[in-house]
């Protein structure tokens, strides 16, 4: 694990760039509030299918996305509302997609687990565990072959590390020296199966390092640590350092999906991790250092709520894709590439 910053170092970092730190807080809050609303809307049957929320893990996406450039690519999993939002997909298009409306980012064909957006190079939304890793390798291969200095950030859970596609992808990326940042979101459970019940080697960075991929473990509940590690890794990948692997140690506060009775973990464990809530922690820190007061927080909070309200309003006003369009996009229409 990368050594945690000392209190002095953290204070200096925040003092040196309070606006950026505040923005990281804002980004995490955007994801949190959007997903809290998703859960309500699911209970109200506005959203159907599977819904997997990221609540508790926001620091990972917020930190990593903050260091990517507009030409970089992102490949994510089925727990990707936050990644899509922080990559720049409008909350309104995400929400409309979950409503199954034509105004959604995939015109209602993907839903919660399959958000895509060409404009921000957001390649899903992949609901087959580890299925996105080979795609990321290929995107990076194209960049390398075309001489573009882009990075592909690929998110996956620790459960993916038991899949063959993880191993094939790390091997190929390292063998061909491809610009991929592998971001493992280790929330300790693959659905309900605990890490130590599914992996012979639970030190995941060590496992990745076996492929000659530079690998670190990072405190995934600390957005500053995530940002710092991601910045270094992205810089290294972009400057030709080959693939990098970051294990973000994090925790999912909510159930795996809306159907999960959580029989596999203790309440005390959840409560313990919730004490490390990445949003609450950073808020306290910013307050303590004098960079956040009640008024600023209230305004930030209002702003985020307004974005979510607008997204819901947009989705509510959305329309259904005509059934006559059902068979569109099975094959490309003339004129596409």
């Amino acid at each position: 694990m990368t050594p945690p910053m000392t209190a002095e170092e953290r204070a200096a970092l925040i003092a040196a760039r309070p606006d950026r730190t505040l923005d990281l807080l804002r980004q995490m809050l955007r994801v949190r509030r959007l997903e809290e609303r998703c859960v309500e809307l699911y209970s109200a049957s506005k959203i159907r299918g599977f819904l997997h929320v990221y609540i508790g893990e926001e620091a990972v996406a917020a930190g990593v996305m903050s260091v990517l450039g507009p030409d970089d690519a992102v490949v994510a999993t089925y727990r990707e509302h936050g990644h899509a939002l922080l990559r720049g997909v409008p909350a309104s298009a995400i929400m409309a997609e979950m409503y199954g409306h034509a105004e959604g980012c995939c015109r209602g064909r993907g839903g919660s687990m399959h958000l895509f957006d060409a404009g921000t190079r957001f390649y899903g939304g992949n609901a087959i565990v580890a299925g996105g890793l080979p795609l990321a390798v290929g995107l990076a291969l194209a960049d390398k072959m075309l001489g573009r200095d882009r990075v592909t950030a690929c998110f996956f859970g620790e459960g993916a590390m038991a899949e063959g596609e993880f191993h094939e992808s790390l091997n190929l990326a390292a063998l061909w020296d491809l610009p991929v940042l592998f971001c493992c979101e280790n929330n300790l459970y693959a659905m309900g199966t605990a890490l130590e019940r599914s992996e012979s080697q639970t030190d995941l960075a060590l496992k990745a390092a076996a492929y000659e991929v530079a690998s670190w473990a990072v405190d995934g509940m600390d957005v500053l640590a995530v940002e710092e590690a991601a910045r270094r890794a992205v810089d290294a990948v972009r400057s030709g350092g080959g693939p990098h692997f970051l294990e973000f140690r994090t925790y999912r506060f909510r159930a795996h999906s809306m159907f999960d009775p959580e029989r596999y973990r203790e309440k005390a464990e959840v409560e313990h991790w919730m004490e490390r809530d990445p949003i609450a922690s950073l808020k306290v820190e910013l307050e303590a250092s004098g960079h956040l007061d009640e008024a600023v927080w209230a305004s930030l909070s209002r702003e985020v709520d307004a974005e979510v309200d607008a997204a819901v309003e947009f989705a509510e006003a959305g329309t259904l894709e005509p059934v006559a369009e059902l068979a569109r996009f099975v094959h490309s229409e003339r004129g596409t590439p």
């Binding site: 995939c106 895509f116 060409a118 390649y123 795609l135 995107l139 190929l172 490309s332 590439p337």
Partner: protein, 334 residues
Amino acid sequence: MKTTYREAMRAAMRDAMQRDERVFLMGEDVGRYGGGFAVSLGLLEEFGPQRVRDTPLSEAGFVGAGIGAALGGMRPIVEVMTVNFSLLALDQIVNNAATLLHMSGGQFSVPLVIRMTTGGGRQLAAQHSHSLEGWLAHIPGLRVVAPATLEDARGMLWTALEDPDPVLIFEHGSLYNVAGELADEAGPVDIDRAAVRRAGADVSLITYGGTLPTVLAAADALAASGIDAEVLDLRTLRPLDDAAILATVAKTHRAVVVDEGWRSGSLSAEVSARITESAFYDLDAPVGRVCSEEVPVPYAKHLEEAALPSAERVVAAARVAVGEAVGEAVGPRA
């Protein structure tokens, strides 16, 4: 010019790489080894290791990387040594290549070509000999083609590369050494339509890929006994050329479908069903089928031969269709 199916396929790849900088080939042993079936022999020397990429034995990894590279603006040709090996990449083919355009609401197309060997007849037994193209032809979002002639071996690849969506090319292993004349100016061909390879009036023999030579031999044998068979080469297995299938049935009123896949749940079943759905009243006899026996393809030569469609079985089925022989009760061996 005199050429072989293998050389025609290689010429097609060379041509594609010359035409378009974005085209590259990757797969197991496509480079230094020259290809598991020597199709890509010499291309590494000609185009270099960036464009002729040997991959590790990672079917899911490199097929998925092909999808990603296609998304990233390249035009990859991915070679999978046999269709049996492609099962290790089915996740990528079925869950990603076939779905991304649709799931993304039309945003991300996957201009990828996957070539693979299919079929039996070479005593390679049950893990290298199966004909699983019918499975893949089941999947919306894929185009599936089966070049059976030198012209198609030479011409289908470029058209497939120009398709904005994933195309799977099935090359029957028994065809690679087929030699013949190919026009010097042979080039791209359509990948939409079936082709009548032999015109006839009495019965339609409908097939594709590796069984085309078998069926043409059967048609010759039938001609010798006064039965004039038409041979339709499907060429494209998805989407099927319904118009061509119905046209030949309208002409001969009798059909036998020949498919090296197993009979149950097969492509032959699909063709047969479409004929009965749309041309039932054109038929003068039940649609016949000649498929592989419902066994894993065995090693021993006599057993393998017994398992695969043969000209004799095609002749027998055609004779039943025209009423010159009485059919066996339809059952597992039919």
